[in-house]
Symmetry: C2
Subunit: 343 residues, 2 copies
DNA sequence: TTGTAGGCGTTATCAT
DNA sequence: ATGATAACGCCTACAA
């Protein structure tokens, strides 16, 4: 039976030092009104006694948790984990911790998570929407109370709030135009759920590029899925079985694009000459696969940093914060999967 | 100026219903002593008033946060993010949230994080050690108080606590022996920091396999690093420039192994015939790269699930928990990078 | 410079 | 079945 160590409180310190708990509390946070000697002595005693503050009590009283909530689809996706790293870097620098939860792309879970975040009184919330989400009133808990709320990447049009996004339309346009310049005439598109801004805008950019260059739009060449590995395979297979198959694919993410490359490789179809492929995200994989994948570099880490710093700025500005959207630059990275031999 | 919504408390509900806060509190948690009608009425009023519990207050009073702390090196690593997913799955099922923080492989940050976890009164802590960590007394805050503590993967020998690991020795032995069976005679090893159990054991397994097959150990073929992408390149380069270069590499992770493959590919060195490569972890990349990478599948997700469920079991057993180590099975995945043509 | 005392929102204890 | 009250640990006006 191990000895059970009790929690040391400011009262214990006060008692031992024959001073008041208030003085201890102030000394521990370097309150100006406490003398240097007292402060030093208190801190020393606290250390000796193994005192560690109870954040719960402190937060309850002060109405401040020094915690930022982060609500994402799932942490084990390259884009998301980089985003989180960016958030953490800034948060930590400012003395904040982060509280992460996953929606698993389910609306119901997202709603529960938002409530849980509120219940634990996070000082602000950063959200990238679940794939499934179509309603947004669960965020009113935060907006109604002017608790800082920042959306990242997958953002809702329907809410007035701070948003950090990339220009999906422009990036998709550039990517598609690049394929056209390579001489591709029948360009397919792997699209995501169209009620999500990012996938909607990417498709729009794709269509706009086709239109600009007077290429016809063939609905048979446009697919919708959640862009997973398996979907990538099956979509590629179906497209290549068409009587009039595509000569290029612009995929709304890298995962599906990579599956396309793998499928083509297995079938002996040359990438890029028979099938050019462009992805979106610039996952680490993109540079590793052979042929390497042309894609749109998504500044995930930076988005996280900006989201966190904007969130922390909101606190100060009280309630006159205009809803503001920050658009970050993407970078089009041309690699082997799209550059055709000169003919 | 937006209307500022106030927080609704159980007092507000009690007042409106002309009952006591105690009854409200009980009704909201389905306490057996409260009548069905009252319970139903309270819940309805709570919903109408937009009541959301204050977790801080509840936790402070009940001494229970329903939160599991997770302390890892960094979230944006494939192994870690899968581990976290596993933890979250189990935690959520049992009504727990998780609180994540990153040590960035720095001991000092790990120490701070452990204190912060304690201060926020997590009900238990799951840890994968920072690369830098060599002392372990910062965990005594938890062990002294019998707060459940589980180490995963990178675990300390020096602490009596629950541990979840894989058999790194056996896995490394099997991997190395496989290379020997392929006819490799000079097998190099990319090792990690040797004070970390996993890297230490992997090296031991490697050495044991060489010894069993009467192959000499050449220290020049053994490197130590943090096994990053860049290190993988430079180590491969250095090894291949030796007057007597290796014909195989067993790397303690996939990242460095993949760099080795890429380096060889660039230099026109045939993998596996001129240089066979085996990695460790089975990151998603391993199956994508060409030639695909032979590696040891590390059950990250399952480790997370087991860590969480063992942690939650500890709560019940009060203080007679024996320190226990659970060893999970790995799976050796043979792919192209190690299978030589028959000669 | 330091002390006193009330309160943050909830739950546990003891009563009715 | 319900109510009154204290307590969790800390912070902060107000007082001294």
């Amino acid at each position: 039976m191990k000895k059970q160590v009790k929690h040391v409180t400011i009262y214990d310190i006060a008692e031992k030092m024959k001073i008041s708990p208030a003085t201890v509390s102030r000394a521990l946070k370097d309150h100006y009104s406490i003398s240097k000697e007292t402060t030093k002595a208190v801190k020393k005693t606290a250390r000796n006694m193994g005192y560690l503050p109870n954040t719960l009590a402190s937060s309850l009283r002060s109405n401040k948790t020094n915690t930022i909530g982060v609500l994402v689809s799932r942490v084990n996706r390259p884009f998301i984990s980089s985003l989180i790293s960016g958030i953490e870097e800034v948060a930590n620098l400012e003395g904040y911790n982060i509280f992460i939860s996953q929606s698993l792309d389910l609306e119901e879970k997202e709603i529960g998570n938002v409530k849980a975040m509120f219940s634990s009184r996070v000082d602000g919330l950063i959200v990238s929407l679940a794939m499934e989400t179509t309603k947004f009133d669960h965020f009113e808990i935060f907006t109604d109370r002017n608790i800082p709320l920042v959306f990242v990447d997958r953002v809702p049009d329907e809410i007035e709030a701070e948003k950090i996004v990339i220009d999906n339309f422009a990036a998709a346009f550039e990517a598609t135009e690049h394929l056209i310049e390579q001489g591709c005439k029948r360009i397919a598109h792997f699209g995501g759920a169209q009620h999500i801004n990012v996938y909607h805008d990417r498709k729009k950019g794709y269509l706009a590029a086709l239109q600009k260059h007077d290429l016809p739009v063939d609905e048979k060449l446009i697919t919708y899925s959640n862009l997973g590995k398996d979907e990538g395979f099956s979509m590629t297979q179906q497209l290549l079985e068409l009587e009039n198959p595509p000569d290029a694919i612009f995929s709304a993410n890298d995962t599906a694009a990579i599956s396309a490359i793998q499928f083509a490789r297995e079938k002996g179809i040359h990438v890029p000459n028979e099938l050019a492929v462009v992805g979106f995200n610039d996952d680490y994989l993109a540079s590793i696969i052979s042929p390497s994948l042309t894609t749109v570099a998504h500044p995930a880490f930076e988005m996280g940093k900006i989201a966190a710093s904007h969130l922390l700025e909101q606190k100060d500005k009280s309630d006159l914060v205009a809803s503001k959207t920050t658009v970050l630059k993407t970078r089009f990275v041309i690699r082997e999967s799209s550059v055709r031999d000169h003919r």
